[in-house]
Chain length 179, copies 3
């Protein structure tokens, strides 16, 4: 009887450890904020970081600049704070495509590579619809490398500043990851 | 002895609940069907929704129209039923690229945004090889937003109708998601 | 008392089986190696498999050939061994984009379709930054089809051979998947 009880308690202990491991396996999270500087129009000391490489055919309604099908390659600095002078933490490299016939909405596909700070050496890739006039846009994380290998989660993208004459923008991204 | 038994039973109850939560956590599913209208050639009242914005260099064998490297931007209506007059449930926005040197096979990358019906406000992104002559093509879901945040799964794509002179197509998609 | 003990043991057995199923569900893995032949410059009997379809605007520093924004469509053979004469196991179809303003770094997006061998009929999609001078580049797997439906994991990409006058490369990929 004492042996039975002992065996049962041992088994329970093992089961509890296994359960803890399973639950724990999905529970490490990272939440952090950074800013993305999308410079379409260069100025002194500030080169263009988003360059149109394909011109679409169909004008967007009420938009004299952008067309359905415009494709921009981007290599945008990521900074700690909203100022362009804020410390750089990485870069967003990839493209955006004007993929709506009626609205200023992009398909955004970029690898966000962190080159300094806590996440130095890690990266996350996002693929998302970016309806640029919406207050908040959700960016699904589709892949991660380095410390973010196997990461899942999403970013929330907000327009922090936008200059309608240059089309330059500063975007705030709040990243929520489970690793 | 009675206390021991009680403690064991309580522990078992907790373990069972934890297990149920773990198993349940992966079990919510959504299955639904819709149709995607890919209009390459416009007609009266029916604008082009897929527009070639990059022309490839190398002709595909036996294909007088398409070339390896052709890139189309798309903003295709998604409807409940196969008819173009069927209620619109969303749009597929993104691109396809002729990415085979020998076959009519695309790399399809699109965000499928649902704008009415049960999944209004949610979206899934797919990235897939689409061998357009195959009966069934599998579309891995690589990201989701709104009610589909964190979704995994796949779609099955079938050609419902194809007009060889206009290259316009109606595609049926059966989506299988776990959220 | 005997009934109580029996019931407890039965419950423990069920819990153990459920746990085993949960743990096992995440444990099937596949590890395999193949080589990717990226032929930019054709030669007799060896057609180009990577073709530039978009020309970027801004030259890369110290690089007379490539520009920020260059887009290549690819349909690269995948082989068992590093030799071009090695048995073909599949093809990598998609694109790469020069997405850095300062370095030879690509955004690589491709579906790797296996057409013979153990993984015949399956495919994995990758989306990654490929800093082509780095020893090892990590390729997150973002989707899978066929036997790799629902797969997660990553590939490790290494340059096996590179010809600086033709820009042709043979790349080694070690794939690590859990299915």
């Amino acid at each position: 009887m004492a042996n039975d009880k002992h065996a049962t308690q041992l088994l329970l202990a093992f089961i509890s450890l296994a359960l803890a491991a399973l639950v724990d396996g999905a529970s490490t999270t990272a939440q952090f904020r950074f800013y993305m500087h999308d410079t379409v129009t260069a100025s002194a000391g500030s080169p263009a970081t988003a360059v149109r490489v394909v011109r679409g055919a169909a004008p967007l309604p009420g938009d004299p600049v952008n067309r359905f099908g415009d494709l921009y390659v981007i290599d945008d600095p990521l900074t700690e704070g909203p100022s362009a002078a804020s410390p750089v933490v990485g870069r967003a490299q990839g493209f955006y495509l004007f993929a709506s016939r009626s609205d200023p909405a992009l398909l955004l596909c970029a690898d966000m590579v962190f080159t300094s700070g806590k996440h130095n050496g890690s990266a996350v890739a996002v693929l998302a619809r970016d309806a640029i006039l919406d207050d908040v846009r959700e960016l699904p994380v589709i892949g991660g490398t380095g410390g973010f290998r196997g990461a899942a989660g999403y970013g929330l993208l907000r327009t922090h500043a936008f200059n309608a004459s240059t089309n330059n923008a500063v975007l705030r991204i709040d990243m929520h990851l489970s690793v």
